[in-house]
Amino acid sequence: MNGELIFSGLFLRALLAGGGLALACGLLGVFLVLRRDAMISHGLSHVAFAGVALGLALNLMPLIFSIVVCLAGSLLILRLKEQARLPGDTAIALLSSGGLALAVFLMSIKKDFGAELMAYLFGDILAIAPSEVYLAVGLALVVTAGILLNLSRLVFMTFDREAALVSGFSLGRLDRLLVMMTAVTIVLGLRIVGLLLVTGLTVIPAASALQLARNFRQTLLLSSFFSLLSILGGIVLAYVFNLPASAAIIFLALLIFSLSHLLKRWR
């Protein structure tokens, strides 16, 4: 391992940002999977990508700009689902193709940022800037707090929406909160593992947890643990063996899934 890099703080920065993201992904992923909303991450990653392209084209901070665009996109998906009476996956397809088309278009008219944009296709956690670490950790904490503060209501409405509707709290507000937290998490994930792999980051640890957990508490704990293990382990492996971090993270997450599944069958 390259000691100089560690002392330069790059490695620690990557671990810190990755750890924050892992916690947010681990918790959020459980709800996305159980709500059959796993593909929302996929759709939003394309919207976030368009946001990055817009930010680069306008010379604004791409990460911040992308968060704004992605938040707007997330609310639009909800609206389309409710008001255009579209199935969720169709609404997502509209948004994701639109997002990607916008990114391709922007790249064609402003060719100088193509290489920078490509970094968001595959992610580059080892190139993360100190300001981005603060942003990632701060937002990850906001997402984690948002979930934990609303935990009972989120569980109730995910398990039994109709009964929850007769409980006097606003499900629409929680739907919006969840999709907005997903948007924020996706943008952070885009920076770390990139557009092509971010869906895996939000879904695989939760899917692994579902193989083993016997109750909801265990599911949240296992999913967060698997998410931390994949991201932090992936970053370490990337350093040690000089691999692309995003690939190492997803491979590790899939390995954990396979082992969890085998363990479930063996039990």
């Binding site: 109730f156 398990f159 009964a163 509707l165 006097g168 957990a213």
Partner: protein, 254 residues
């Protein structure tokens, strides 16, 4: 039909009509539920029973008419902890959902809007109390998806009871549950109604299995055909029709 006002009116349905995309489901329904009632809403398939129940708890908005809960217009009603609702096919939840019996109840108990939020220790006590009422106190830690349909239905009753509601509304709660479990289930409802003075509104196809517990009947076929005392209902032509007419009301299995 008599409509004597013996106790506090808990639900009042006033001139309610409803249609699904122009197809009428309910026509000018007037109905009232009083404290202590055990009301069965019966009627053939497509008679609007479920629609009426959903309108009563605010899940559907009537095209015409109004609903009052505990003397307040439904739109302004806030005390939802007073209402327990169990929808049709409630046990058809996601079989992969990892949740224990206690967590099912806790999620609801911590969510329902109520004046004073219970503390952590209180939540635990209320969960165990509710599970004791339905005879499942030893199953608190078990995964919900490992229980039988009858047991799951009891957990949902315990969940509804945990917020200490004053009225329980149930829509065909025993669909898909074996006959002995159904009898146990309705015996439990009867006990809750008599011993705890819990008001119950039950939508059902199987009038035969519940008729020894109910004291009021509403017979629905888009319009309200009968609404009154169970004892009077048994003397009525409607009931004879039910018994002899090969109607779907007595026993109907999906």
């Amino acid at each position: 039909m008599t409509m004597e006002n013996k106790t506090e009116e808990i639900i009042r349905v006033e001139g309610v009509s409803f249609s699904y995309d122009g197809v009428p489901a309910l026509l000018d329904v007037n109905l009232s539920v009083h404290r202590g009632d055990f009301l069965a809403i019966i009627g053939p398939n497509g008679s609007g029973k479920t629609t009426l129940l959903k309108i009563m708890v605010g899940l559907l908005k009537p095209g015409q008419g109004r609903v009052w809960l505990f003397g307040q217009p439904l739109e302004a009603f806030k005390q939802w902890h007073k209402i327990g609702y169990i929808q049709q096919k409630a046990t058809n939840f996601d079989p992969i959902f990892p949740i224990s019996v206690a967590e099912v109840i806790a999620a609801s108990l911590n969510s329902v809007s109520r004046p004073v939020k219970p503390g952590r220790g209180q939540v635990r006590n209320k969960i165990m109390e509710a599970l004791q009422t339905v005879g499942l106190e030893t199953e608190a830690g078990r995964p919900m998806n490992s229980l039988s349909g009858g047991q799951q239905q009891r957990v949902l009753i315990a969940r509804a009871l945990s917020t200490e509601p004053e009225i329980l509304l149930l829509d065909e709660p025993t669909t898909g549950i074996d006959y002995p479990s159904q009898e146990n289930f309705y015996d439990l409802l009867g006990k809750l109604n008599k011993q705890k003075q819990l008001t119950i509104v039950l939508v059902t196809h199987d009038y035969g299995i519940v008729n020894r517990h109910v004291n009021r009947v509403a017979c629905l076929n888009q319009k309200l055909v009968y609404h009154g005392e169970h004892s009077e209902f048994c003397q009525s032509d409607r009931f004879r029709e039910l018994l002899h007419g090969g109607h779907h009301l007595i026993s109907h299995r999906h």
